[in-house]
Symmetry: C2
Subunit: 116 residues, 2 copies
DNA sequence: AGCATATGCAACGTTTATGTTGCACGATTT
DNA sequence: AAATCGTGCAACATAAACGTTGCATATGCT
């Protein structure tokens, strides 16, 4: 099954920020953590961290759960898998295109649609 | 070698847009194409496409070359590889964390830093 | 009850993204 | 040389992203 392009972009966008990437790393290395915990060490405020976590949650990269007065976030690996599959797909297609291009260069029988 | 987090975010950010993702797909499927070619079919102007291509170029996902009066863009697979490796890395760490967590749950010897 | 902790929410301000339009310029074609 | 094609560049407009501050609210601890 080919990956849905419509769902891939938002996931990548969520990954496209150092702060959020840092949060994911932390969650992947230390397991579920509260907002305050995740805010420690960062240079931005807790509120800013909350927004980043919400951004990650919106695309399903993390899940949250209330634990008493704490909201604990955890990584959700499924989405990560989707992103990976997308890159694999593009990479594979690229390889195929490269192979086609090579074949094209080696034989003068040019298929009309091929670029260059 | 672990991937550099500082270089990963911009790449993901560049991937985080449907238009750009579409351009990459097109390039991966059809090989090198000119700006005008890549603009056909899209709903945005050529100038907008140019900017998207520049954004992809800035992070090294595509390369460009002048061919007469055309500027031809092509995908650069190396960066794609970097992004993939990053996701692999995070996923692997997540798996490791899950394993640790499982081990932790099974033995009551709690390391102090562990969340929850 | 009283206090500290963990968050949420809303109002702002600033910066960055994204897209458009209009026009200039060099390369190709006729 | 003239017309056409493929681009670049600059000025603008709008919207979204990101971060802050200030204050309200609920939970947990003493």
């Amino acid at each position: 099954m080919s990956p849905k392009r419509s769902s891939a972009a938002p996931v990548f966008a969520a990954l496209g920020d150092d702060t959020r990437l840092g949060l994911l790393r932390r969650l992947s290395a230390e397991g579920p953590l509260s907002i305050t915990r995740l805010s420690e060490g960062k240079r931005v405020t807790r509120q800013a961290i909350t927004r980043h976590l919400d951004a990650l949650g919106r695309v399903g990269l993390v899940r949250d759960e209330w634990r008493g007065r704490e909201r604990v976030f955890a990584l959700d690996a499924k989405r990560l898998e989707i992103a990976r599959q997308y890159l694999d797909h593009v990479a594979a297609q690229w390889d195929a295109a490269a192979a086609r291009l090579k074949a094209f260069v080696e034989s003068p029988k040019a298929p009309k649609g091929t670029a260059l």
